[in-house]
């Protein structure tokens, strides 16, 4: 994009002219390369970790972000006001970006996790993973997939989700896998803002009117049964954590709880007493066991891509 020929109709200075952007292409946050998301990053496998295990772990982190991103994007044009509409879309886009890098990492680590597509299909592996897997192949926690309620419900869910994810990503910056460390370093800044956003709104709603307090408390009670699953250790997570590549969520459970307790206490909200939602025969979201809501979500998210497996986007 060139700024050498200013548009005369904007002679009094558009806010987006050189004064703000200059002609510096670096204002495009992640470069202008939309082809290979991992271009220039060292994707060799760290030793001592099984390729399939690393790929599965990347799918867990990616699917959490992808599914949460989709639920947040459902607010587009429906948020309480224009400013929140854009704020929620920004959070959704941050998470979509994290998901894309992590899906690409999963595919680069072990190509056998990528669903087969017709010969000659131009669909990149990260898109194949997002759009051509069945619900039982998704490894996200169930907290992300349950349908949106009202704004209070969304804020309560985002508070739990981003608090846990931030704690995980902070540890993940020390991963021996260069890609995961880089994705985590980028994600920490984004997720810090998500947690801040959710925490501020949680406090605002809790200390607002009787109605706003009732709603955010109801939202919290609704998502609370799914909180424990966020911090539960799956064998894959234990394995990558032992290899110094991933993070065992149970190791951040205490610090996540301290942050939530601070938000609850400053908001004057009681921690809900509802018990955690059990798994089914010991299986949870990380095992590919989901609620019906995920199938519906995926049906909407995947339908166009699946109708055009040879499509170029």
């Amino acid at each position: 994009m060139s700024h050498s020929a200013p548009d005369p109709s904007h002679e009094d200075g558009s806010p987006y002219d050189d004064a703000l952007l200059g002609s510096d292409a670096s204002h495009w946050a992640f470069g202008t390369d939309f082809e290979d998301p991992l271009a220039g990053v060292d994707t060799t496998l760290p030793d001592g970790v099984d390729a399939r295990t690393l790929a599965t772990y990347c799918l867990m982190l990616a699917d959490d972000a992808l599914v949460a991103s989709h639920r947040l994007s459902e607010w587009c044009s429906r948020a309480p006001d224009l400013e929140e509409d854009i704020a929620l879309a920004n959070v959704a886009l941050d998470l979509l970006g994290q998901a894309r890098l992590l899906l690409a990492r999963a595919a680069a680590a072990d190509a056998s996790v990528v669903p087969a597509l017709p010969d000659g299909s131009p669909v990149p592996p990260e898109d194949a993973l997002a759009f051509f897997r069945e619900a039982h192949d998704f490894r996200n926690v169930r907290l992300g997939e349950v349908p949106n309620g009202d704004f209070g419900h969304t804020i309560a869910r985002l508070l739990l989700f981003s608090t846990a994810r931030l704690a995980l990503l902070e540890r993940l910056t020390a991963s021996r896998d260069h890609v995961l460390a880089a994705v985590a370093a980028k994600g920490v800044k984004e997720t810090t803002y998500h947690r801040d956003y959710a925490g501020r709104w949680f406090l605002t709603l809790a200390q607002g009117t009787d109605e706003s307090r009732r709603r955010v408390e109801a939202g919290l009670a609704e998502v609370w049964p799914l909180y424990g699953e966020l911090l539960r250790t799956h064998p894959v997570e234990a394995e990558v954590a032992a290899a110094g590549v991933g993070v065992d969520p149970a190791t951040v459970a205490d610090e996540v709880d301290v942050v939530l307790e601070q938000v609850f206490s400053v908001s004057g909200v009681q921690r809900p007493g509802v018990p955690p939602l059990a798994g089914v025969t010991g299986r949870y979201g990380r095992d590919g066991l989901h609620t019906e809501a995920l199938s519906r979500l995926l049906a909407e998210m995947q339908v166009v891509a699946r109708a055009h497996p040879m499509g170029q986007w």
Partner: protein
């Protein structure tokens, strides 16, 4: 839905290499802190800024269009106030 609208704020953003904050638009927010957050979300999504100012629109005192002539017309014919009648030596930088 809401009986009372949130107050309006004016947003000023300073770019990476900009020296001053530039007015970029306005938005609604419940309080000053929320206005900064909203400004970040609405006006710096494309990496435009490194600093944000917000100010309640009703705190701004503006000149009135009715006063346009008495305020601004008198300077219209004072061309000598522009520093254009000097020749600048070639070795003076940054001009």
């Amino acid at each position: 839905m809401s009986e009372r609208e949130w107050p309006l704020y004016e947003v000023f953003v300073r770019g990476k290499r900009g020296l001053n904050h530039v007015h970029v638009g306005s938005l609604h927010a419940a309080d000053d802190d929320m206005a900064v957050r909203h400004a970040r979300d609405v006006y710096t999504r494309r990496n435009e800024g490194v600093s944000i100012w917000v100010v309640r629109s009703d705190a701004i005192t503006a000149s009135s269009p009715d006063e346009k002539d008495p305020l601004f017309a008198p300077s219209g014919d004072k061309v000598y106030r522009h520093p254009t009648f000097y020749t600048i030596p070639d070795d003076v930088p940054h001009m």
